[in-house]
């Protein structure tokens, strides 16, 4: 490494720290300050740390609403991601293994799914007709509908790298189509599956807009909605508001630390092919 590279690195590090890290340090400082100190909005070291006190108070707020929100968000995320994996892999499998005139139709749907903004009020109308409006099941299925396109694309290209001979061998051994898929193919798709789990669970956990439209009501509150609602409730208690922000930032941070490689793979997949 030349001196020049080291110098540019140092300067970039300082700029990046100010631009990209300071806001997160700010969140941390605000979250542990006392109510009156947080109200000053200053970027200063907390004079006293009220980490545990603020944490307990946020969790207790509105009759433990945050715990309910974490529970709901977890149910939605796990349910939707599980279905996205199985459904997406099945479509990708058929697309790759059994090309037909239908492929064009499916690709058109994938393209629409990536591009077209969902028609919100008509979707609410459909959900109401199916008795799924304001239900966790409805929310899960919405995320499946909106996430399928990405899931199918990701799986389709990877299934191309799995030799057909494996399917044939399983078939000769007497395996039924479902057995071939679940026992032979799906386990081999693990790298894509991990990527998909990581990328989609972050997206669904962070989803705000869809929950705002399709899941109103106190009993169904999700993590992002809680945060949004607390914005008005905690107007005078910024320490608690920021403790809440800190709490929703930690899960993606942990995922990022452990699954950095998969995230990068997922976010750039297909991107460079144009």
């Amino acid at each position: 490494m030349t001196r020049r590279q080291r110098l540019i690195g140092l300067v970039s590090l300082i700029v990046a720290t100010v631009v990209f890290i300071v806001p997160f340090v700010f969140i941390l400082f605000m979250a542990v300050k006392s109510k009156s100190e947080a109200a000053l909005f200053t970027f200063t070291w907390p004079t006293e740390w009220f980490f545990v006190e603020n944490l307990i108070e946020v969790v207790k707020a509105r009759n433990y609403m945050l715990l309910l929100a974490y529970f709901n968000s977890t149910v939605i995320t796990v349910g939707a991601v599980a279905l996205l994996i199985v459904f997406g892999a099945m479509v990708g499998y058929i697309l790759q293994r059994r090309p037909s005139g239908w492929n064009k139709v499916i690709y058109a749907c994938v393209l629409m799914g990536l591009m077209v903004p969902p028609a919100v009020v008509p979707t609410i109308w459909v959900l109401q007709g199916l008795n799924l409006f304001k239900t966790l099941t409805g929310m899960v299925l919405i995320h499946v509908a909106y996430g399928l396109a990405f899931s199918v694309l990701l799986y389709r290209s990877f299934i191309g790298t799995i030799p057909r001979e494996l399917d044939e061998a399983a078939r000769i051994d007497g395996a039924k189509p479902l057995q071939i898929f679940f026992k032979v193919i799906l386990p081999l798709l693990k790298p894509v599956t991990v990527t998909l789990i990581v990328v989609q669970s972050i997206a669904i956990f962070n989803d705000f807009t869809n929950a705002l439209y399709y899941l109103p009501g106190k009993e169904n509150v999700t993590v992002q909605l809680t945060l949004f609602n607390f914005q008005s409730q905690f107007r005078s208690q910024f320490n608690l508001l920021f403790m809440n922000i800190l709490l929703v930032t930690i899960p993606p941070l942990l995922v990022f630390i452990f699954f950095n490689r998969q995230i990068v793979a997922g976010m750039t997949s297909g991107a460079v092919k144009g």
Binding site: F26, F41, Y93, R98, P117, L127, Q128, Q231, F256
Partner: protein
């Protein structure tokens, strides 16, 4: 009749996906064209022709929302493309702490938009916010950011770029990695300066990544809702309203037909911009 042997790849594998996608995505999209022509309360719909669209293009604040959507999408997409490329070049040049810096730039992409929005509303507070206090140390009298009608939309766009530039950078890093070092070698032998190498080698050869970044960020920008809703809620007044926030406001007010018309307009806007753009990019691809 001889029974045909069943394929090991039965079409019904597509069925679960098709059912969910058709009922919750395609059907709503198709019926939205009809409901946008009605006065609608979710139970009864009364056909009123193009009245909703007329209203959309007559009300100044709705027209403003449409214009703002375009400004917002172009600004954020442009900034993400340019900054993303520059950051990617910097972060592939073998500088000190390179992989740490990549993580730092990328991390905001994964964080809750609502959390980021609230944090920046506090940082951008006109008098107490850290940004203006920092500027005052430099002797600059900072603007009121989100509270200034002329600036609010751009302040939100700035937050959006801060949060999203990491994804553009990541895509560009992958694109740069695909360029063979031979090209740079050849350019160096021919005596090209670093700047010439950037314009004559990097920019043309990283084109596929550019196409992806522009397309993704433009679609995202046109549909953008949560950053705006977490910061200004379209305010002050209607200064930072975009189509997505107009759709939500009309929905909240109970004007379901009008809200749906907004949705159709957003759909058409994306189609009118993105489809010709993609076609143009592909044509250029063939010309090269």
């Amino acid at each position: 009749m001889a029974q045909k042997r069943a394929s090991p790849y039965p079409y019904w594998f597509v069925l679960p996906s098709a059912v969910v996608f058709i009922t919750l995505f395609l059907v709503p999209t198709l019926v939205s064209f009809w409901f946008s022509l009605t006065r609608w309360d979710l139970f009864t719909a009364e056909y009123i022709g193009l009245d909703n669209y007329r209203q959309f293009f007559k009300e100044p604040f709705l027209v403003q929302g449409l214009i703002n959507t375009l400004i917002y999408a172009v600004t954020t997409s442009g900034a993400k493309t340019v900054l993303g490329l520059l950051l990617a070049v910097l972060l592939t040049s073998g500088i000190w702490m390179q992989s740490f810096l990549r993580s730092v730039v990328f991390f905001p992409v994964l964080v809750s938009t609502i959390g980021v929005g609230i944090t920046f509303t506090v940082l951008m507070h006109p008098t107490k916010g850290s940004i203006n206090i920092a500027l005052s140390y430099l002797g600059i009298d900072g603007p009121t950011w989100l509270a200034d009608p002329a600036l609010a939309l751009y302040s939100v766009a700035f937050i959006d770029v801060w949060k999203g530039v990491g994804l553009a950078t990541l895509i560009y890093i992958a694109g740069l990695a695909a360029i063979s070092p031979d090209y740079y070698e050849a350019a160096r032998i021919d005596g090209a300066t670093r700047l010439q190498q950037f314009w004559r080698v990097t920019v043309p050869l990283v084109r596929p990544a550019t196409v992806t970044v522009i397309t993704l960020s433009l679609i995202g920008g046109l549909r953008s809702f949560d950053v705006i809703w977490a910061t200004t809620r379209g305010g002050p007044g209607f200064a930072s309203d975009v189509l997505a926030s107009v759709i939500y406001k009309q929905y909240q007010a109970g004007f379901y037909g009008l809200s749906t018309a907004g949705n159709v307009i957003l759909f058409l806007l994306i189609a009118v911009i993105v489809i010709p753009m993609t076609a143009w990019f592909q044509k250029r691809e063939l010309d090269l």
